[in-house]
């Protein structure tokens, strides 16, 4: 099958599935159709990934309907890896929702269209196209064709304004080099200021991820994983790839690293303070996104692998956190275990690779904040971990969650299963990875002279976790903490009274200023 057709196939499956699921005759089977469509699209993405040669980048232009912006699909390992991750995640969420009896609504069409729009962002071949598809994605998840509709207006508006940063960056890049296509952008096309502007959509999506924890819980939240975590991760990595593997300028690297860790620490504290484990899990996903941002800023080959690993993990963990789970169920325990950044958590591999990267760059001092933030996140995860209780059947409901969480734990323990075919090819798009940089085997991975036995570490840490949860002192710890549980919000802003400002003669001042400017335009030589 020609690549140009194969690249379009996931979109056709998703939009076709959305159309079918909205037909009155098929509405009852909408969930199954949606799951099939997402699974089919994931299958196509997988074959696409296996078909690509190492570090191969293919641009497929379809149409030039928009001046200076081709309708262009960019197929490379980074895009396909994130596309695959997105589609598998969407499939998991749809399955979890299908198995839930609590909600009678049928959101299948909207979900499939949101997935298609997010996939469009991932496969878009130019910055302007990414911007347009980000807007489409916002439209798809919010469903607010009428822009003034009050539902979800705050988040929608925030996303729209932040996405403007990306458009401005694209416009400045186009003014400088004449194109916004990824294939035509040199590594210095985005300066530090422009890069920061382009990061605005990432920042607002992570903030939205943290804020999602405050929303009323439905059995399955679809958007945090699909429209926020995936897109934030992909955009961050794509921008790093455009900038040549690291944020432009040493100061900006430090700023991004520090901002990521500060975000992780702040949200971890919020997760610690959360009253319910469901809220805490979503906040933890935002904290992990903060650590992933910090890893992306390090700018080495090992850090590129760490960044891709961490972001793919954040997407999967956000999806698990978006599914309502019975407190004390097996799924809840496994999800919490996977969310601990220390072993046996999935993100431990990324954290360790980030550590190696800092050591390689002789920045050992930066290890302290990195591990402090990671420790806070791990502590927050452990605080909400509960040993499963109840009947065995109840423990295993809903089934996809424990299975997916177990697979993630397995992936963290055996990086061999994920690294070579998914993470390394995607990381090669960010930065060249010389042979011998990384090695992997059944026991663990090696980066240069250092090695970590991930399997042994995961088993040992898993055993320690079980012991901690079964110890009687754990209960007394919980009781003690409950007594000092703070309820006041960490940050509080009061808007100033604007009445006095409104009373100023703005119109007259503006007219006078403009008239003065016209006179100056005539007088000035």
């Amino acid at each position: 099958m020609p690549l140009a057709v194969q690249a379009l196939l996931p979109f056709l499956l998703l939009t076709g599935g959305a159309a079918a699921a909205s037909l009155p005759a098929l509405r009852r089977r909408g969930g199954a159709i949606a799951a099939l469509a997402a699974a089919g699209a994931a299958g196509v993405a997988l074959t696409l990934l296996l078909r690509l040669a190492p570090a191969e980048r293919v641009d497929i232009p379809y149409l030039r309907a928009f001046p200076t912006v081709d309708l262009l699909i960019r197929v490379d390992a980074l895009a396909v890896a994130f596309g695959l991750s997105l589609l598998v995640t969407a499939c998991l969420l749809i399955l979890a929702r299908l198995l839930s009896d609590d909600d009678r609504r049928r959101p299948w069409s909207s979900w499939l269209l949101t997935t298609a729009a997010a996939l469009g962002v991932i496969f878009a071949g130019s910055l302007v196209l990414v911007y347009a598809l980000l807007r489409l994605c916002t439209l798809a998840w919010s469903g607010a064709l009428d822009e003034a509709a009050p539902r979800g207006r705050g988040l929608r508006t925030a996303e729209q304004i932040a996405d403007l940063g990306l458009l401005v960056a694209a416009a400045l890049a186009a003014a400088g080099v004449g194109t916004t296509a990824f294939s035509g952008l040199p590594s210095d096309a985005l300066g530090p200021g422009t890069f920061l502007l382009a990061l605005l959509p990432v920042a607002v999506r992570i903030a939205a991820l943290a804020a999602a924890a405050e929303r009323p819980r439905t059995p399955v939240l679809f958007h945090p994983a699909i429209a926020q975590a995936t897109l934030a991760g992909y955009l961050m990595l794509r921008l790093i790839a455009v900038a040549g593997g690291r944020p432009p300028g040493r100061e900006l690297q430090i700023l991004v690293f520090a901002a990521g860790l500060a975000l992780a620490a702040l949200v971890s504290i919020q997760a610690w303070r959360a009253r319910s484990s469901g809220t805490a899990r979503l906040r933890l996903a935002a904290a992990q996104a903060g650590i992933a941002i910090a890893l992306c800023a390090l700018g080495t080959s090992v850090a590129a692998v760490a960044g891709v690993w961490a972001w793919l993990g954040v997407v999967a963990l956000t999806a698990l956190a978006s599914i309502r789970q019975t407190p004390g169920s097996l799924g809840a325990l496994l999800t919490t275990a996977a969310q601990t950044i220390l072993p046996p958590g999935f993100l431990f591999v990324g954290l360790w690779l980030g550590t190696v990267s800092l050591v390689q760059r002789q920045l050992e001092g930066a290890l302290i904040p990195l591990w402090l933030a990671a420790g806070l996140a791990a502590a927050a995860a452990l605080r909400h971990a509960r040993w499963p209780a109840g009947e065995p059947r109840g423990l295993l409901s809903p089934a996809p969650v424990p299975l997916a969480a177990a697979l993630l734990l397995l992936g963290g323990a055996l990086p061999l299963a994920i690294l070579p075919w998914l993470v390394i090819p995607a990381a090669r798009i960010l930065r060249g990875i010389p042979g011998g940089t990384l090695g992997w085997g059944l026991l663990g991975i090696t980066a240069g002279p250092t090695a970590v036995p991930t399997l042994a570490a995961a088993l040992a840490a898993g055993g320690a976790l079980v012991l901690w949860l079964r110890l009687p002192m754990r209960r007394s710890f919980d009781t003690a903490w409950a007594g000092v549980h703070p309820s006041a919000p960490l940050l509080r802003f009061d808007l100033p009274d604007l009445a006095r400002w409104r009373a100023l003669p703005w119109a007259r001042t503006a007219w006078l200023a403009y008239a003065a400017l016209v006179v100056y335009a005539i007088v000035r030589q």
Partner: protein, 523 residues
Amino acid sequence: MTTLAPVIAFVAGFLLAELREGWVRLAGLWAMIGATGAGLALTTSRPEEAAWAVGPMLASALLVSTPSPPLAFERLMLRTAVTIVLVFLGGYVARRLPFGDAPWAIVAMAWVLAAAGLAWLWLPRDRLEARRGAVLAIAGGSAALLALFPTGAGGAALAGLLAAAPLLGGRRPVAGASRAQSPPASAFLLAMALLLAGLALSGGAGVRTAPLGLALSLSPNALAGSSLLLVVAAFSMERAVAAAAVLAGGSLLLASPAPHWAGIAAAVAVLAGEAGAARLLWTGVFLLGLGPALSVLIGGPLGARWEAALLAPGWLLLLLPRQGRWGGPLLLAASTFVVWGDLHHLGAAGLARFQWLAAAGAVLILVIGTLPPDRARIPAVASSVRAVMSTGLILVGVSTAAPLGMLGAVLLVIDLGLVQASAPLGPPAGGPLASAALLARSGWPASAAFAGRVLVLLAAAGTSVALILSAILLYAGLQLAPALQPHQPARPGRAGLRDWLATGVSLTTGIAPAILLRMLQGG
């Protein structure tokens, strides 16, 4: 010596017109117009230019009426003061600036004619006198341009005839109200628009000379502009709007400055309703005409500075006041294409000057437009926050002087002029069109508004810091605009043909704006 007799006749006529009523005033007006026409013929050595006088004389005769109660003393004094100030301002500027070889006596007569017209327009005794003032203002302005840019008999006669345009707007009691237009007339206008669009796509025909020496500009840009104006007229189903569209669209196709400017002024005369808004519009129209005139009169870099500096505020004053449902968009579209054409005359320095004045104007629009009406100190500002900010973006887009910016501006004009105006009460509630209509009216991707905003920003980034900053400000404001105005529920009833057409136009141009770019650039 050759101009002495016309000047004496003009002064006598001026005194009669200002001091008397009825038929005596008409005689005075005829003396003024006749003297100016004679002066034109004598000083430009082109007797055929006297054909200009026919239109204003006829229009003045048709506007004679029984005298209504005189103005209150204060208002009368104010009006006299306005006339004197305008006249002396012209004289002072003429003395201070290094005027070239221009026929000053003719320019002075034309200026006084226009000044008297403007004073009657701004402070009229009744509606009839306002229309009479409009006739004089258009006649005076076009006479001054004829003296500076001589054209053939055809151009002069047309410029004079266009001064009779205020007769067409006389039946409108208030702004926005107009007699309905028959569907076949709308279909005809639409067919003409398609024809012009086809010509634009085929590359146009450049500058051609029609019979009687009338110079026509059949560039793709002008053809596309005229086509858009006719589409607005067809959508409006209103006679006055159709007349204004034909006048403005026709003026875009004229290469000679005098009839070109007179066409725009005539369109304003047909559409201007409320007194406050009309004052702003007429000031804007005069500044648009004054720029090119001063560039020739003064000449050199100083003349170019005046031209660049007057173009931006002139256009701004045309964009700011709120007109009727269709009148505002029509003037917006017409002035956009007029200014786009004028930008080609500016040098690099003039363009830079225009750009920062345009950027400041966009910010002014933002400030004025978002103030509550009672604090805005403008008689009427555009109908919604979204319209205000889109107008600002249009200003920025055109001032980039890049095809991409102009394309963005045209898309925003289509959004305001066709899509938003065609369904002021919101999109239709039911039927298969409802979702598509909502999308077409929104700022989401695939709508003309979205494409226009993106293109303006892309174009502004390549131009200047002032333009990109104002574009970002306006674009961000547009994202916030839906939160600033009340939620508009869908209107009851099913979609009509106009809804279908507006939706189709918005989505087609939003998905494939390259078609429009080809139309603007020709082929």
